[in-house]
């Protein structure tokens, strides 16, 4: 029978002891204590890590490839919301993720997306209604109802929303929340609807409010949102109600590390190591009933060997008793390429991107903020040339466009501050939540070129300057690559550097770009249907609104 010897972490009893772990057929058979200084007890054996909330799609990798990279860092499972692909490909997209994930030894625990489409003010690729949601929740491999972003819908008891929540309750599956900044009575109402987690807190006060109302709090530290520093202190008093998650994890940062990094940072801040391991390993497994092993006899043999309980560097990762990573190398093979997509628009012409000037003295300008999903609303005099509003490079007011990727339709145009490009353009078909094509640039020629590069690849991110151009194709739903994850990370790093070389001082220009069409976060965004005021929650006049031209748009 295979066995492994080391300092075993028994998180439930808060102790560490030298032992030999015997395992067979994917399960731990027994854990037999040995003398503390017996040979082979130098390393620690602990349960593998769980990312308690992650959109796999943000890694730009298909699930199997995500797993291949994540196991290197000791991650053995995730709670995965396939919200992005669901907005593009609907139920088929969810099925693709599950099937792709099933090809590798890794525990994905997908949820049923609750808000597809996110709003009625944009064109998504699919609708998942309450009946679809119920169908999904009936599946054994769908573990929960994922982040209920429609917070007003919950409070006003919207019929569809209530049906989805009821389906989850009936099936005894947890419901994830998403209620940034919600406090007091409204928070209580939201929680009382049976929503049991939140990963959107950005202050300790808000998190404490929710914890005290019985909600579990996911401390999020990903490529986009970074709340670790603000929230980690809560672990001391609420060790059973805290989990760690990344939410959005870009390929370059997945190569660098995962939940292991959060453990190391928490311990370095003086957090009790058993509390840290509860958040990183135990709490998500118990909350979502994932069945991931937790180092007890009879548990699945999901464990990792780490050199110490400071850096949590994974020497070995086991899933169901199979060694899947060792010394920084993944032992999982790259998956066979598989394609699913919903990308039907054809190439654009430069003239499609002009913004007519209708004698406006001032236009609404989106102010992007570095590292934030929220934007500000500015008013600014337009720069007009030949009765067209153009990018005003000197004042860093650049044209932003959203191109419907699902069918041929007029292009939405507006202007945005803080992208900083001095020439060229960047474009992306990763554009939350509907994943149309969003682009920012200094002139229509560059914008058109960048958009067309994305269209040629049927999805991707692109960067165009005068002489150089680069595109990272994401042909899987326009969100993910089929290539080796390390290569995708290298390409992402390269295109990120190129965008910065064009003048952008944003810390992650493509990430910021991807949130400029995310209507559910205020204050002003651009959808394929036009400029959207998040405070009024409605479309608002924009320069050169997308009129119905060329007889398109059903």
């Amino acid at each position: 029978m295979p066995s492994i010897r080391g300092q075993v972490a028994d998180i439930f009893n808060r102790r560490i002891y030298a032992a030999t772990v015997f395992f067979e057929d994917g399960k731990i058979v027994s854990i037999n204590p040995v003398a503390k200084d017996a040979a082979g007890t130098g390393h620690y054996i602990i349960p593998g890590f769980t990312d308690a909330h992650v959109h796999i799609e943000s890694s730009m990798l298909v699930p199997a490839e995500f797993a291949r990279l994540a196991v290197v860092h000791g991650t053995v499972s995730t709670i995965s919301d396939p919200h992005e692909i669901a907005n593009v490909c609907g139920l088929q997209g969810v099925a693709f993720m599950i099937e792709n994930g099933n090809t590798v030894p890794f525990k994905f625990n997908f949820g049923a997306p609750s808000c597809v489409p996110a709003t009625i003010f944009e064109t998504a690729g699919a609708v998942i209604d309450a009946n679809d949601t119920k169908k999904l929740l009936l599946r054994d491999d769908i573990k929960y109802l994922s982040e209920m972003m429609n917070f007003p819908g919950v409070l006003c008891k919207d019929e569809e929303v209530m049906k989805k929540i009821a389906a989850a309750h009936t099936l005894n599956k947890p419901i994830d929340g998403h209620a940034p900044g919600v406090r007091g009575e409204k928070a209580i109402q939201y929680i009382n609807a049976g929503i049991s987690t939140d990963h959107e807190c950005f202050t300790a006060e808000e998190a404490l409010d929710k914890l005290q109302a019985g909600m579990k709090i996911l401390i999020r530290e990903g490529s986009a949102a970074k709340n670790f520093e603000a929230l980690i202190g809560l672990l001391h008093d609420y060790p059973d109600m805290i989990m760690f998650c990344s939410d959005d994890k870009h390929p370059d940062s997945l190569v660098a590390g995962h939940i292991n990094q959060l453990c190391a940072r928490a311990v370095a801040k003086g957090m009790d190591v058993f509390n840290v391991l509860r958040a990183a390993c135990v709490n998500p497994v118990l909350h979502y009933k994932t069945g991931t092993g937790l180092m007890r006899p009879g548990d699945a043999a999901d464990f990792i060997v780490v050199k110490d309980l400071k850096n949590f560097e994974a020497v070995q990762t086991y899933i169901d008793g199979e060694l899947v990573a060792e010394n920084g190398k993944s032992l999982i093979s790259s998956p066979e390429p598989g394609i699913i997509n919903n990308f039907l628009c054809s190439k654009k012409m430069e003239g499609d991107f002009t913004a007519d000037w209708n004698n406006e003295k001032s236009i609404t300008v989106i102010e992007a903020l570095d590292g934030q999903l929220i934007t500000n609303k500015l008013n600014w005099p337009p720069k007009v040339i030949n009765r067209k509003i153009t990018s005003d490079i000197e004042n860093d007011i650049l044209k932003i466009v959203v191109v419907n990727r699902y069918h041929h339709a007029p292009i939405a145009k507006a202007f945005i501050k803080n992208f900083g490009l001095k020439l060229g353009a960047i474009a992306s078909s990763v554009a939350h939540d509907s994943h149309n094509i969003v682009a920012v640039g200094v002139d229509d020629k560059s914008i058109c070129k960048a958009v067309n590069l994305v269209i040629e690849k049927k999805g991707g991110i692109s960067c165009v300057s005068n002489d150089a151009e680069m595109v990272l194709g994401l042909p899987v739903a326009g969100l993910m690559s089929n290539e080796n994850g390390y290569r995708v990370a290298a390409a992402y790093t390269a295109i990120d550097a190129m965008a910065k070389s064009l003048g952008s001082h944003l810390s992650a220009p493509f990430m910021t770009l991807s949130f400029m069409a995310l209507l559910v976060i205020p204050h002003v965004k651009l959808s394929d249907k036009g400029l959207f005021d998040g405070d009024e929650f409605t479309l608002t006049p924009s320069p050169s609104p997308p009129s119905v031209e060329r007889g398109a748009a059903p």
Copy 2:
């Protein structure tokens, strides 16, 4: 009258003294000693640096943009061989370089290329014969006859070669050598023909031979060849006969530093600082009679202010009395874009790249060596699929092609070891010396795509994987960009990283690629006319030789 105060380096008298330097109308008027501890004497004032041999084209920047970046490092002049553009655009190319260089305050000192084309076994874009050479040498702004690579032509007194040499002698302009590894009697003969420098030595012994025969030695440390460590010791005994040069300096390394770095390394190795400054500032100016200022009254006011004589970090750079760089910022404006090119081939199809199998049991394979221009000749059994020879990824034997860029012609194909790509392809129109398009890849589809990206841009470097692609266009002669040099450097860094992410372990895959068509360096290379044996100095059978198809090639 403008003046500047500091510790002035008087290299000729090997002393440093506190002084005020007065300058006017681009010249130093007087240098007046002051008390050693007078205000403002903390920094050192020394002559600017000269790169004694550089092909500006290798920076991928036009001369004015090269200058804009170089002055930041204290470089005020170069000895520039426009050999690359001459092979593409002939005399017009040389004129372009001179005119472009004249738009900025910088001293380029161009030479007349001596070997265009380099051999008769390849298709270049132009011929510069002895009459053309003479015409060039008659110009005041052509300072020398540049590297005479046709070493056998010199020894056997080839008529054209002798005419070129005679023209330089008549006009009292120096002749640069290029005689790697040549020793003994042959070296004497070569030197006796009146060739006065060599920048190709890679051992101290060889350099010593040449120094003792009266030749001046340029210690070369660039992106391609790195001879500094081997040769710097010679500076001790031959301080008047040594210069520093880069030869080929890629954009990323030009951003990092220039001759200043070699000074710092030489001083760190214990070399006398005045000897170092002779090599870096004085010797090239005297040898090539460039008229660059050397810190004497009456000299051009070309000087730099450095913090110390250890790191040679330039605080200020002056050329003809004009402040052109300060604290790491260039004060030279980017030039207006200008285009000259010779790029006439049209896009290729995948089928153009197939290599037929003619029952060969073994094929000649080029073995590329990291960091070297030289290659080895291997024999290897071909990998055959459907009677076509294909890349053998497992054994790292990949297809290499050379595509004539000057007119439509059949494609030369061969196989090469050590590029290491596991997928995709890379291509470049920087391909010494004729600058056709050279590409290496794992399959014809990727190779075709990479080549066509270069063709679309009328020159450039490209990298293609399954999902991603990148091209850095070099529309100026297919060698240089019109963009901001820092952006070009960033793009070059990005595409280099992308090539490495496809599996190449070469330290600079595009640089190695650019030398695979350089016939004058043994042992086996590929020209647009086929596989070339550098030892026999003739074409040699290759798989699927480029027969005259599709009625092309004049």
